[in-house]
């Protein structure tokens, strides 16, 4: 083999300026790349999280306040006031009056107006304290404002997913990566344990565990118990996938190079293994959030989750169990629409992330 002629590929041209696009530019780029269902989903979730974070401001009424004269009141129409009346308020509604106490039918009282004030008394919109209430989405059987309850209920549904995934995620990644990287006896023990857990029928297991929760517990405690139970059930499947990916990364030459350099196991896990499984993990996490939302809804629907009078989308939907109620007061199904939208949004977003984080799409 003779000495080769000098090649041009050794010397590199001057390095391009650092391609550190600003966060705003990156987000704009992502937005351009997203399809319209993904954009809608993002908006939807943004709105839901705003509802959850800003509940006291967004909800017009206290979610437990019962307007005893207005049970199962239908959603009310909002009217725009004439310009001459704008000093009193921009919007008004006609109060409802019950016409049949048995069938709970209502009629608008055309002669009276209840003014809907914007940005007053710490709420985005509300009515004066003494005035008849304005029910945007109707009221429930106890005369509580459904919209306010949905807004407060979003706190449970929107954060149970995040918190649950955070727990499952950290448990699953740590245990899975450890199991896959260390291998041997530890791997065997962890995997057999996860198999035992996965072989339990998860919903019955969830019910059994939820039944242990003392009924007198505060809503916050119940919330955390539910998250803990669902994470306890959910980590196994996740850990197994991470374990498989880790075991395959372990034999990759660049990991061997790190070992040859004297890197500790912990360092290899942190620097090489976990980053390479992160893409999958993020997608799996996003796609598992709906499971938590639905799980909580199911428990609350059965009365094992968040207890009345506290609101969650699940226990609000529980009122729609009754066919009679559903037939006559269809607006009580609205919390279900919120659950549906949240679940679909997370699924669309997870799907999109999977495409974006697919290694074959990496620049």
């Amino acid at each position: 083999m003779s000495a080769a002629a000098p090649r041009t590929d050794i010397r590199l041209e001057a390095p391009p300026p650092e391609r550190q696009a600003s966060l705003g530019a990156k987000l704009r780029r992502e937005w351009r790349l997203a399809s319209w269902p993904v954009r809608l989903s993002t908006l939807c979730l943004a709105v839901f999280y705003i509802l959850a974070l800003g509940s006291p401001v967004i909800a017009p009424y206290n979610p437990t306040r019962q307007y005893r004269s207005l049970p199962d009141c239908p959603p009310m129409a909002l009217h725009l006031a004439a310009p001459s009346e704008w000093r009193r308020g921009f919007f008004y509604a006609y109060p409802m009056r019950m016409t049949d106490a048995v069938r709970r039918t209502y009629a608008e009282e055309r002669g009276v107006r209840t003014w809907v004030h914007l940005f007053s008394r710490g709420h985005i919109f509300t009515t004066a304290p003494g005035a008849p209430p304005y029910f945007l989405l109707g009221s429930d059987a106890l005369g509580r404002d459904l919209f306010s309850r949905i807004v407060y209920g979003s706190r449970v549904s929107m954060f149970i997913g995040i918190l649950g995934v955070a727990i499952t995620f950290s448990l699953g990644i740590t245990i899975g990566a450890l199991s896959g990287y260390v291998g041997g006896l530890l791997d065997n023990l962890i995997m057999r344990w996860s198999e035992i857990e996965m072989s339990l029928p998860s919903f019955y297991f969830l019910l059994a565990l939820a039944a242990i929760i003392p009924s007198g517990m505060s809503t916050v405690k119940t919330f955390f118990m539910i998250v803990a139970i669902m994470s306890f059930i959910g980590w196994a499947g996740f850990a197994r996938v991470i374990r498989g990916m880790t075991a395959s990364v372990r034999s990759v030459p660049y990991v061997e190079a790190a070992r040859a350099l004297g890197a500790s196991r912990w360092r290899i896990l942190r620097r090489h293994v976990i980053p390479s499984v992160m893409g999958y993990a993020i997608v799996a996490a996003t796609l598992s959030i709906p499971g938590f939302i639905l799980g909580e809804s199911a428990l609350s629907l059965l009365g094992l989750g968040i207890q009345e009078p506290a609101a969650s989308w699940g226990n609000l939907l529980a009122q729609a169990e009754d066919v009679h109620a559903l037939a006559h007061y269809p607006w009580i199904l609205l919390p279900g629409v919120f659950i549906f939208l949240a679940v679909m949004s997370f699924n669309f977003l997870g799907d999109h992330l999977r495409d974006r984080l697919d290694p074959s799409h990496l620049r």
């Binding site: 061997e256 350099l261 390479s276």
Partner: protein, 339 residues
């Protein structure tokens, strides 16, 4: 090189003692159970009873077909895999006797360059982090000093310092191999196992990398184990060459001896497979019948006998030992013993 004293190669050992010594080194892999519930396990003898010395400053070429156990041997010498028998002495220290911490510290002195320039660099890390990893692990430098050191290393292997901010996928195969070499050199090793470092590269680039490796060896007084699957590649760089067949060394001699006076029929066959530059001077090609036998069930006697054109009765029954003859030329063959 860097002025940091930690980088200057440690005091050379007394000449005479080899830098790396393998004694009866063997590695068996489990090849899985033969049946699902069978307790009978199959084992593959990837490397069996290999003894060799690598002297400070030399390049030992290690040649064999795929499956001959040459890469396994290289990793055994670095203790990246545990031997099932035998031991490795590095610079007078038995690797098996070291604690995990001592071994990690010793890893600084022995490094590995990989065959596959794609899989051997983490695609998620910038060149800066890839080359800097060893420096971080052994706390050799920090901050600006580390940056300077990485730039130096990149220039040492013929890359621009600007390569630091880039990702591996932005480089060609040859450039990636240079990055891999820079990573290995970052901890200032004395011994490098080069595991087919040019096999995956274009022929024109192979020469560049080999020249680079030779240049580095001179400048940094490195010791190489150069693994290759044909004799042509190691010819220019090796002082001695070892030929492996089915986990055993069948011939080990100085380069000139191997190329001018090959003894083992397998070595002869390998040599005859090198295409000659001069079409008139072309020697007759020795064709080996059949395939390399399965290492799960190696042939009795000399492992090479089923393919050997000179095989005699004794070859089928008795395994030949590697015997050293005149001038250190060692051969394991009944038919062509060392001079």
């Amino acid at each position: 090189m860097s002025p940091v004293s930690a980088y200057s190669p440690a005091a050379m050992p007394a000449t005479g003692a080899p830098l790396v010594r393998a004694e009866n080194l063997g590695k068996e892999f489990e090849a899985g159970a033969s049946g699902l519930l069978s307790r009978h396990r199959l084992t593959v003898k990837a490397v069996s009873a290999v003894s060799l010395d690598i002297h400070s400053g030399e390049t030992l070429g290690l040649v064999g077909e795929s499956g001959s156990g040459k890469s396994t041997l290289g990793r055994l010498l670095l203790k990246l895999i545990e031997p099932t028998s035998g031991r490795v002495i590095f610079d007078g220290r038995d690797l098996a006797a070291l604690s995990r911490k001592e071994l990690r510290a010793l890893r600084r002195q022995m490094q590995l360059v990989f065959q596959d320039p794609y899989a051997s660099l983490n695609p998620r890390m910038r060149v800066r982090s890839i080359v800097g990893e060893g420096i971080e692990i052994h706390r050799l430098a920090r901050g600006a000093e580390k940056e300077r050191r990485i730039a130096e290393l990149l220039e040492l292997v013929g890359l621009d310092a600007g390569a630091m901010n880039r990702y591996p996928h932005e480089f060609s195969g040859g450039q990636r191999q240079r990055i891999g070499i820079a990573r290995a050199l970052a901890v200032n090793p004395r011994f490098l196992v080069l595991d087919e470092p040019v096999s995956a590269l274009d022929v024109s680039i192979q020469a560049q990398i080999i020249n680079l490796l030779q240049d580095l060896q001179e400048r940094l007084r490195l010791t190489y184990l150069f693994i290759a699957h044909d004799l042509r590649v190691v010819e220019h760089i090796s002082q001695r060459v070892a030929i492996m067949y089915l986990g055993k060394i069948v011939e080990l001699a100085s380069r000139d001896e191997i190329y001018s006076n090959p003894r083992h029929p397998y070595t002869r066959a390998l040599l005859s497979a090198i295409p000659s530059v001069n079409p008139q001077a072309r020697a007759e090609r020795i064709k080996l019948p059949g395939e390399v036998p399965s290492p799960v069930d190696p042939p009795k006697g000399c492992a090479f006998h089923p393919r050997c054109p000179y095989a005699k009765d004794i070859c089928r029954k008795v395994e030949p030992a590697l015997e050293t003859g005149h001038g250190g030329h060692a051969v394991a063959c009944h038919v062509f013993p060392p001079d």
